[in-house]
Structures are given as structure tokens and as C-alpha cells.
């Protein structure tokens, strides 16, 4: 059967046959970098269009429909416009940090791509501490945002950055505990093993109530971590004009914009991997023929389908809820989500020790 695994394997074999191992590895790195960058570009185009179409559907309107069939090239046109625009740097801004910030945010997104399993045996780097790597790298993005807010020399930016700092640091905890629940069930930090452990069923179904609770906690926490509504206090359009990226324009703004969507994709991909079985097809108990049919759908489609389902969920939130206030946001985390996740982790540990999960 056709699979991505076969393609990568044949390319690797061919490279090692033709060149010496060091050079082959270098060429592989270049290919991976090119692929990652093109994935970013495509994701940016697709997700922005998807967001606008989802928003339009929820808001009883049509959304972009002029550029290309069904408005498909709207984002391309927008990107062209952003490239043409002048990238202003405010007077008396800290120029070095101001220019660095969007790249920091972007780089965090790129680094996070590494351990994600896009399909069966199709992974950039199957590091044995994959989950730990993800949690630690994703917390770096706050540095880029703080940098942007601080360096802009704008009071709105500063307020937005401070809000964002408080928010991301707090919600990191809940997201971490939610991820830890699955680690407890699996007994491994490696992404490939976590996916493999869901061969018989996804953790959302196998893990009883703790898994469901941690899935909900995870979705709430990552919505906050990616600064999406109802937790978009760092941008808070109506309060702080545009929050930490008030002063950014042109391509540098586009990088922030793109980074937001890349981050959504990554957190949803991780959510799909941990809770919804990654690239594993949907199998239901003893229904042999059904399971067999499901196996025919390529693993990459399974992975992307689950990821985009979660992305849709997060977009749905954005266009339905009003924004929380900053003290309510922190109350929600420290008074409700954190105690619940601690208790939930305990429950999950008990279940895992006694082997009560399926």
C-alpha cells in the first residue's frame, strides 16, 4: 500500500547509497528544513482561510469569495499585501529586540514540529523525551511575546505583554498536568510509543473519566496558551488596540499572525496525538470488518483529520465567547483548573497502578 513511510525510506536508502553518511545526513536536514518551511506556508494559507470561513459561517455571512474559486486565494493576496507593506519600527523602540521578537515566536513554532508524528513512521525526530521536549519548548514562546511588548515602546504593547506573560505561565501548568495524565497511562515520554499504545483504542476512550477530564483541561489550557479567544487578553482588540503587536506592521506582523496559527496547529496536533490516537485509525472492539475498512484510510489523513477537528473546535470557541477579564482568567486557572488537574492526575495514577484502564 502507498504510504509516506515507503517514500522516506527509499529516499534515505538512495542517499546513503550515493553519498557518505555525513553528507547524506546533511542533505536530509536540508530536505527536512525545506519541508518544514513549506508546511508552515501551506498551513498559514489554509488555516487563515479556514478561520475566515468558519467565522463567516457562524456569523451568517459568506466570508472571502472574490479571489479565486470560493475565495481560496484570499490569503495569498493578503500575504502579498503584507509583503509589500512597509515594516515600520517605532521611534525610540529597542530596534534589536523589536526585530528579533517575531522570529523568536516563529522559531518556537518550528522547533515544536520536530517530535510530531505526521503519519505512520513519518516523524522528523523521534526523541525519547518527546512530550517533555514539547512542554519545555512551547513555554519559550512567552519570551518572544514579552520581547515584542517591551521593545515596542508602547504602553498598550507593554500591558498586553504583561498580561500574556501571566497568562501563558499560568496555563502552562494545566496543560502540563493534562499531558502528564497520558504519560502516566502510557509510561513513556516518547511520541511514537504513546501513539503505539493506542493501537487498541484511543486514550480518550480507554482512560475512563480522568482522560476525558484531562482532554477538556488540555483544550482549555492550550486555547489560553495560544492567546485565542476567549483568552485573547494579550491582544484584546477592544481594550489594548492590538496588545503586544500594536506596533508591528508588514511582514513582521505577518510572522506573529502566522505563528499564532502554527501554534494552534501544533497544540491541536499534540492533542490529537495524546488523546485521539495520533495517526491510528479508529478501531471499535470486535468489529473486524469495520476496523479493516478503517485501516485502508491512510494514516496521514487520520492524523490531519483529527488535528483539524480540534482546530475547528478552537475556532468555534473564538467566534462564540466574549473575552474574560484578566483577574477572572487567573482565577479560573489557579482556583479551578489547577486543583482539578492535580486531583485528576492522582485519579489517573490510581487507575494506572491498578491497571483499571482498558
Amino acid at each position: 500500500m502507498y504510504s509516506l513511510e515507503g517514500i522516506t525510506k527509499s529516499i534515505q536508502d538512495w542517499l546513503f547509497l550515493k553519498f557518505d553518511p555525513t553528507l547524506a545526513l546533511a542533505i536530509e536536514c536540508v530536505i527536512v528544513i525545506l519541508l518544514a518551511i513549506s508546511l508552515f506556508a501551506i498551513l498559514g494559507l489554509v488555516l487563515v482561510l479556514m478561520e475566515r470561513k468558519v467565522a463567516a459561517h457562524i456569523q451568517i455571512r459568506l466570508g472571502p469569495n472574490r479571489v479565486g474559486p470560493g475565495g481560496m486565494f484570499q490569503t495569498v493576496a493578503d500575504t502579498l499585501k503584507l509583503i509589500m507593506k512597509e515594516g515600520l519600527t517605532p521611534d525610540k523602540a529597542d530596534k534589536f529586540l523589536f526585530n528579533l521578537a517575531p522570529f523568536v515566536v516563529m522559531m518556537v513554532g518550528m522547533l515544536l514540529l520536530a517530535p510530531i508524528a505526521f503519519a505512520k513512521n513519518f516523524q522528523i525526530w523521534d526523541i525519547n523525551i518527546g512530550v517533555l521536549y514539547i512542554s519545555s519548548v512551547s513555554s519559550l514562546s512567552v519570551i518572544g511575546i514579552l520581547m515584542a511588548g517591551w521593545a515596542s515602546n508602547n504602553k498598550y504593547s507593554l500591558l498586553g505583554a504583561m498580561r500574556s506573560g501571566a497568562q501563558i505561565v499560568s496555563y502552562e501548568l494545566s496543560a502540563g498536568f493534562a499531558v502528564l495524565t497520558i504519560v502516566v497511562f502510557t509510561g513513556s515520554l516518547q511520541i511514537s510509543e504513546i501513539v503505539a499504545s493506542q493501537q487498541t483504542g484511543w486514550w480518550l476512550f480507554k482512560g475512563h473519566i480522568p482522560a476525558v477530564i484531562s482532554f477538556v483541561l488540555y483544550i482549555i489550557a492550550v486555547t489560553a496558551e495560544t492567546n485565542r479567544a476567549p483568552f485573547d487578553l494579550a491582544e484584546a482588540e477592544s481594550e489594548l488596540t492590538a496588545g503586544f503587536h500594536t506596533e508591528y506592521s508588514g511582514m513582521r506582523f505577518a510572522l506573529f499572525f502566522l505563528a499564532e496559527y502554527i501554534n494552534i496547529f501544533i497544540v491541536c496536533a499534540i492533542g490529537a496525538t495524546l488523546f485521539l490516537g495520533g495517526w491510528m485509525p479508529l478501531h471499535i472492539g470486535q468489529w473486524e470488518s469495520f476496523n479493516h475498512l478503517m485501516d485502508y484510510i491512510p494514516s496521514s489523513i487520520w492524523f490531519m483529520g483529527k488535528t483539524f477537528l480540534l482546530i475547528f473546535l478552537i475556532m468555534w470557541f473564538r467566534w462564540t465567547f466574549p473575552r474574560l477579564r484578566v483577574d477572572q482568567l487567573l482565577n479560573l486557572e489557579w482556583k479551578y483548573l489547577l486543583p482539578i488537574s492535580l486531583f485528576n492526575l492522582l485519579l489517573a495514577t490510581v487507575i494506572a497502578i491498578f491497571g483499571w484502564h482498558f
Binding site: 529597542d94 485573547d232 466574549p322
Partner: protein
Amino acid sequence: MYNQTEILKDTSELGTEGELVINMGPQHPATHGVLHLVVTLNGETIKKIEPHLGYIHRSIEKMCESLTYRQFIYVTSRMDYLSSHINNLGCALLIEKGIQIEVPDRAKVIRVILSELTRIASHELWLGAMAMDLGAFTPFFYAFREREMITEIMEDTCGARLTMNYIVPGGLMYDLHPDFQKKVKAFVKQFKAKVTEYEDLVTNNIIFQSRTKGVGILSAEDAISFGCTGPVARASGVSCDIRKIYPYEVYDKVSFNEILDTAGDSFARYMVRVKEMNESIHIIEQLIDNIPDGDFVGKTKNVLKLPKGEFYTRVETARGEFGVFIVSEGGTTPHRIKFRSPGFSNLSALNHMAVGSKIGDLMATMGTLDLVIPDIDR
């Protein structure tokens, strides 16, 4: 490399220790126009709000001094542009009172129906804009769906969607559009069916409730002292509906309730406006089938002259009590004209309501005050 505190000191009015002064407006998404608030912050907490007005001040009062009594009515459309019809009505009522012009019943009823439609349209726009201030974008489109029907009715009948200019002293400028009754009935039907969507989307939303309940509290005493009127004062329990207290046109012949609440917070102001829309629908339902036949304009002289003296009328716009005060010397133009705009008084209470709350609360408070900046500046 710059030292950040030096930069802040350099470029801004850095207040005393621990204070941050930010200029909200004249271009800011939440001030809905060119309102300029100088907000003194301590972290996220508001210490002081100072409104700076005048960015859209056109000195309408001075302009009116050189316009005749027929002309000056239409300048008032440009004040509170969301209830322009009711502003026009207030001016026309004053002239009719001063010169004692008899207005035909048909004109009176049509004026009231259009006033109530204007009120609903204004509240719809407020609903969408306020939800947007709180970060929810979707209710805006739902509110505008119904508002669009009203603006289309207005367009048919008055020829304009926003600044109606439909009233002349003594009646109306021209007769109703033939489709008027049919379209208004369709609107009433649509509104009644769809108003539950606002309940689902906004009123019952837990985040919306936690953002507005207990936020921006205005007590009844303060509301009176600040001269607040309209839904702002009624949410604090002050009965101030001009339509009930000093009925004009046919408001004494229709039955409707004055919506009162006692909480005085942003959520109460929200609820008062939503319920008011239903009351307006109720008024329209009573009148739409009972528009009397006859003339749509009474007999007036071509040149109107108000007798020497002072005149004052008040009407209930969507934002509160709109008063017109005219000092006449007996000529064809007013000697002095003063518009008592509801937004101006409501804005003066903002500092009192918002001090001590967070920036996010300011959006809820300001949103539910329903400020229209041209109305404040005049």
C-alpha cells in the same frame, strides 16, 4: 540600547510613582468614534478617567442660530445619528408647541411608529457593538440582520437609512411608502422569532454575565445627581421615561411598560435595553394597524416665526432625555438654542463608575453607557 524607564518618561506623561497614563482614543476600537479618555492606571486598575471632548464638535448650537426654524431641525440628525428621527421629532414638537400648529393624527401615529423603529435600530447597533467591546464578534452580525430590515423600511419611507429628516413642523415631509405596513409587520414577526438568539448567544453566556454583573455600578442617587437618563438611569431604578412622565404625540394612548431594574450594574443596563426593544415592538404592534387616514401634514405658514419667549421640550431618545431649549426674540431664527444631550450627562458619570475597576471592566461600563460621540460633542 535604551533604558526602558527613560523612554517611558521621555515620551509620555508618566504620572507619579506606580501610575501609568494611557490615552484611550481619539482612535481606539472601544470608544466608537473620537472620544478621548486619558486613563490613569495602576497596573490594570483604573485610578482616574478624564474625558477630553471636542474632536467632532461642530458647534451645532451656534450654527442653529443662523438657520430658520424649518432648517435647523435637520442639523439635529447629525447629533445623535442613531436616533436622528427622535431628535428631529423633539425640535418639531418645540416649534409646534411654540406656534401652536395642529398636527394631524396620521402624522402623530407615523412619527411614533418610526420613533420606536429608530429606538430598536439603535439598541440593535448598541447590542452588537457592546458585545464586540467584550470580545464577542458574532452577536454584531445577528443584531445587524434585524437592524438591516429597519434601515430598509426607513430607506423606503424617508429616503435615508441613517439621517431620516422625515419630519417637518406640522407633520411629515411626505406620505408613507405603500409597502410600509407590510414590511413593518414582517419585521415584527422576524424580530420576535429571532430575539431568542440574542438570549442564547449573549444573555445566558456565563462569560458575558461574569463580565457585566456587578461591574460599573451606579446608584440611584448618583444617577440623578449626574443627570443620567434613559436606560442608564432606569437600570439604577430611577423612573425617567419621558414617554410615560410627559407623554407626547400618542404615547398616552398606547400601553407599554417602563422597564426598571435596581441593580445599576452593566448587566442591568443590558437587560433594560433588551427588554425595551420588546416594549417598542409592543407599541408598534398596537399602532401599525391603526394608522388613521387623512393628511400627513398640517397647514403651516411658509415662514415660521416663534413668538418672543423661551421654550423647552424633551423627548425620549434611545439614549435618554433629549431636550431642546430655545430663546426666541420673535424672529425667523432662534436667538439661542441649547440641546440637552443625554450622552453628555451619561459620560460625566463614567469616571465615578469605572474608578477602581480593571481595564476590561471599563469596556463593559462604557459599552453599556451607549455613548454616541457626536451627541456628546454637538
